[in-house]
């Protein structure tokens, strides 16, 4: 019937057929987050870089951009979805076996080859941990190519932490995982406070280090200041930007920020590219 299985992305608006193979609850409550593991039907999963994203089609509702939450060294595609609007509400109602459309990989990913031999610090808040997970999974799977890995992550409460079990497991395995929550809770053995404060406490060494930070805008603002105070230069700091996206290929203008199309030239940006913009990113 259709040629979508044969010619990938020749028509960049045409999605691949994919099905949901696993659904995991990350955060429950009024603003729930679920992680969907999605497998392409009838074709190999395409290769991609950490930080790239896909436009996931829920037919009848529309498309939403999600950064791919797992590293390309792991199987299938994982997306962590916060229920917040038309498309995501329908997605949260879906079950294993349901069919969705995938358009990807889109955007510019993290330059992990350039970072070989360097130390990596990821600083995340809330659902901003998603692109960072793609980085640290890759670094863990390619341990020999990288220096020290530090994962700094925090959320409002312990129930709002994404990938909680996975992170606890990594901590047990000896990885340098620093978790935090905003307010004290009984039985919470780790840092209590905001993520930038935790960062200040940890005081990482900027020498030969790359820092990547994602999270709510206010957290990123303060984190940047802390990093600069610690001696990090703008060229050592990376972040991802978020904008309403529709076409995903740099045409429709919705995600346009000055001369940059966030869907095409980003969503990964090195901080010095953003600091010289006129408009506030």
């Amino acid at each position: 019937m259709s040629s979508v299985l044969d010619e990938p992305m020749k028509n960049p608006y045409l999605p691949y057929k994919a099905e949901i193979v696993e659904i995991r609850d990350e955060v429950k409550g009024i603003r729930p987050i679920k992680t969907f593991k999605i497998r392409l039907i009838g074709r190999e999963r395409f290769d991609y870089k950490s930080g790239q994203g896909c436009l996931v089609s829920v037919f009848g509702r529309g498309e939403s951009w999600f950064t791919i939450a797992n590293s390309p060294t792991r199987p299938d595609l994982e997306f962590s979805v916060l229920k917040t609007g038309k498309v995501t509400t329908k997605l949260h109602e879906m079950e294993v076996g349901d069919v969705v459309g995938i358009r990807g990989p889109l955007g510019r990913g993290f330059p992990l080859e350039e970072w070989k031999g360097m130390n990596i610090i990821t600083i995340g808040g809330g659902i901003g941990q998603t692109p960072l997970r793609s980085i640290y999974q890759y670094v863990i799977d390619n341990e020999k190519d990288y220096g020290d890995l530090t994962i700094i992550y925090g959320a409002r409460t312990s129930r709002d932490l994404c990938y909680r079990d996975e992170l606890f497991q990594l901590k047990e395995q000896g990885f340098n995982v620093e978790l935090s929550i905003d307010n004290p809770e009984p039985d919470w053995p780790y840092f209590v406070g905001f993520v930038p404060d935790n960062l200040k406490r940890i005081k990482p060494d900027p020498e030969n280090t790359i820092a990547i930070t994602c999270g709510p805008p206010i957290m990123i603002k303060i984190t940047l200041r802390v990093l600069k105070d610690l001696g990090f230069k703008e060229e050592q700091i990376y972040t991802t930007l978020e904008r309403r996206m529709k076409c995903g290929i740099g045409k429709c203008g919705k995600c346009k920020l000055e001369s940059i199309y966030v869907c095409r030239d980003g969503p990964v940006f090195r901080y010095d590219e953003l600091s010289r913009l006129l408009e506030e990113a």
Binding site: K83, G85, T88
Partner: protein, 323 residues
């Protein structure tokens, strides 16, 4: 003649009560004889202008500005009618507005003007209404055009050329009239012809929504027909955003456009002042006033209601005797 009116306007502006913070009036646009609305301070009276091309309705600006201070406004008959309507709907407090009313003989249709005038727009120095003629002066030359060739067609059926409620009045009072002869003429066409006419009109609409955005009584933040803005906050639950009612798709087609226009106009029943901003704003020059006037005729004939009454139309419906 408009220089006389302008002098009187400036004179009144110099005598404004002390608590007036803003003046909403016309200034002449650079490079062409269009008159555009501007918010001025009481010290900037010399920038004011007035001519038969001062057609814009200042009510929308006054409505927003009156929240932060007392506003003096230079308003014609239809403008004051709109202000009155907004006051009825509790959008403006009358004490916040100081109305300098101007009795209006009608405004010039800028499209007709551009076709009739023989000078380049940038050369025109002044446009004056003297008696029954419009005198256009440019580079020492003059062109006389009969006013009835340039008048905005809507003004021929004006119900209120002289503002009813104003703090000062400039110009001689004029009689308005309730005249729906243009609509009656159109109603003589049979159904097929009328349908064809309107589908032809709606096929030209590009759904830019200029008509809605300039209309002073289309002030809803979230328009039901085609939302241009959504009142959402970080607290709005996802289910509400997901189930947001959508009356029209964003597809532009003659039938969808018809739904947009008819629904929009229906919300104006008994409220439209007939100022003509919608038709002047439309980039595709659609005859939108015909729809408004038809509805006005229906409201008048069936409910015997005119927008000049003290109570809003919907309130009148509550007190009408059972039919």
């Amino acid at each position: 003649m408009n220089s006389e009116i302008l002098e009187k306007i400036k004179e009144e502006c110099r005598k404004l009560p002390d608590d007036v913070s803003y003046i909403v009036g016309f200034v002449r646009k650079q490079g062409e004889p269009r008159e555009i609305l501007r918010v001025l301070r009481p010290g900037e009276i010399d920038r004011l202008s007035y001519s038969p091309l001062s057609s814009s309705n200042p009510s929308r600006i006054v409505m927003d500005l009156a929240k932060s201070g007392k506003v003096a406004v230079i308003a014609k008959g239809c403008d004051v009618r709109t202000l009155k309507q907004l006051e009825k709907e509790e959008k403006i407090k009358r004490e916040r507005v100081y109305i300098i009313g101007v009795s209006c003989p009608g405004v010039i249709d800028y499209r007709k003007f551009r076709n009739a005038v023989k000078f380049r727009l940038s050369e025109i120095e002044s446009v004056e209404l003297v008696g029954d003629d419009v005198i256009v002066k440019a580079n020492g030359n003059e062109q006389r055009i009969p006013f009835n060739e340039l008048i905005f067609e809507n003004c021929l059926y004006c119900e209120q050329p002289t503002p009813k409620d104003c703090d000062v009045l400039i110009g001689e009072p004029r009689e308005g009239r309730t005249d729906f002869s243009d609509i009656e003429e159109f109603e003589k066409l049979d159904r097929e012809e009328r349908w064809k006419y309107w589908m032809d009109v709606f096929s030209k609409c590009i759904r830019c929504h200029a008509c809605r955005e300039v209309c002073p009584i289309c002030y809803c933040e979230e328009c039901l027909v085609d939302p241009s803005n959504l009142a959402v906050s970080p607290m709005t639950p996802a289910e509400e955003k997901a189930a947001y009612p959508r009356v029209l798709g964003k597809t532009v087609s003659a039938s969808d456009n018809m739904v947009y226009h008819l629904m929009r106009v229906l919300h104006h029943a008994g409220r439209c002042a007939g100022c003509g901003e919608c038709e002047r704003a439309c980039p595709m020059e659609l005859p939108l006033l015909k729809l408004e006037r038809k509805l006005k005729k229906v409201v008048y004939e069936v409910f015997n209601y005119s927008p000049d009454e003290e109570i809003p139309f919907l309130s009148k419906l509550d007190i009408l005797p059972e039919v």
